[in-house]
Symmetry: C2
Subunit: 258 residues, 2 copies
């Protein structure tokens, strides 16, 4: 691929992340994941690229393998799901086993849960205070039970509202680089009619990646072209070049997605 980072990486470190989505409910098709897209956009604001994601079952070995593989390949790893109070919530145990550390009750998490549930705190609820040894907590502004941070590994909730609350608390806390900027050009043209032109715009603009996303609406075909770069000036030149090239072919193109 022509990487948006081809240009940047000569001068600066590119920070990357992976997401491990944990849950049989995703793999059975019962639940539609909503965390990947949110995390991707949140990471980009922090100057970090989401480079891969994996969806794994509620299975100790599968969770451990995915987390270790992603830790080996990326600066940051996030997991979502499986940190609740029930028997199918095995994320903490699976990750601790994969990292070779014991599971302990975090005293601050015990305090948070005891305050949250009052005299209704139970052993099941205190399961949510269990962390791999050495972990810090990630505050949960929604429902008390915290997320977990182990260095560059973040163990977050699966319920999107809670995941998003945890991420808000991490805003600006992670080292990152320049965010990827993106601009879109929409056209009522079949992408196959302008394929050469798209490739040329990309080739002519170092560090700019051009993606083509076709759609069909009301019986008509069109496409949105998304241009991405860390370099704002270069990105602007590519957008103008694309609009000019489309117009020269008699195609009605507009800035922004249609």
């Amino acid at each position: 691929m022509v990487d948006v980072d081809a240009r940047a990486s000569e001068q600066e470190k590119i920070w990357t992340a992976a997401l491990v989505i944990i849950g049989d409910e995703i793999l059975s098709g019962r639940t539609q994941d909503a965390n990947l897209a949110y995390l991707a956009r949140w990471l980009n604001i922090q100057g970090i690229r989401l480079k891969e994601a994996r969806v794994v079952a509620d299975d100790t070995a599968a969770i451990g393998e995915a987390v270790n593989a992603c830790l080996a390949a990326h600066d940051y790893v996030f997991t979502t799901g499986g940190i609740g109070p029930t028997h199918d919530d095995i994320t903490v145990d699976a990750i601790a086993a994969a990292l070779g550390v014991p599971v302990v009750h975090h005293p601050d998490a015990v305090a948070i849960l005891t305050r949250y549930y009052g005299d209704k705190v139970t052993e099941a609820r205190l399961r949510m205070a269990r962390v791999p040894e050495g972990a810090e907590l990630v505050p949960n502004p929604e429902t008390g039970a915290p997320g977990i941070r182990l260095g560059r590994l973040f163990i977050l909730a699966g319920v999107p509202k809670i995941t998003q609350g945890m991420l808000r608390g991490l805003d600006g806390q992670l080292a990152g680089g320049r965010p990827v900027l993106s601009r879109a050009v929409g056209a009522w043209a079949q992408e196959s009619a302008v394929a050469d032109l798209l490739a040329k715009v990309q080739a002519d603009h170092d560090g700019v990646q051009v993606g083509s996303y076709p759609f069909w609406r009301e019986g008509k075909g069109g496409a949105n072209f998304v241009l991405r770069s860390v370099d704002e000036a270069q990105l602007g030149l590519a957008v103008e070049a694309l609009k000019t090239a489309l117009t020269a072919k008699g195609i009605d193109a507009q800035e922004g997605e249609i």
Copy 2:
């Protein structure tokens, strides 16, 4: 985990599949994947379990590694995305490279595209007739450009309407086993209040897996409990046991998700 297949696997082969979702647009958060959930449910009807999914960038090495890893671990592998006519559609080349076979124009695909585009067929459009050598075509009832089958590997489109059309054409064509049946019980109870009871119902019913999925609505907490098994009778017993146990605790429980 307590596997829904723990019981079945003593008598029968369990067929598994993986999905590789290809596309920078998913990893940037621009596009919400909609193929995983559809494929998961479609596979279950065929008696095949979706066991893992990976989302990878438009990157030759990343696509190849994911496809090879999934082929090594599962009976079937599906990919979605990156088979269109533009420069960022590199799935066919990446997979052919990973499998060590050349890319060729499939004569039937050339014929389909020539018929579909008439005298507007171009080299860019004929890119969509390129397949790894030895491949068969998967018909596309929506837009002409076919999907690709290479034995137990299926290379499908990324646009959900097209992906779904391709899957419909594959209905009943793949060897599989018994589908997983599922039934749900919904309750206005916090899952942490009934965690022990859920674990007991699962432990008491061999081959039944109980998932717990909390929600918050109108300021109230509740949870849906999804019971899954290949054994209909065993599943029915577990559902009754769960309803009885919840009712005994004074919790209003109903069959079906709430």
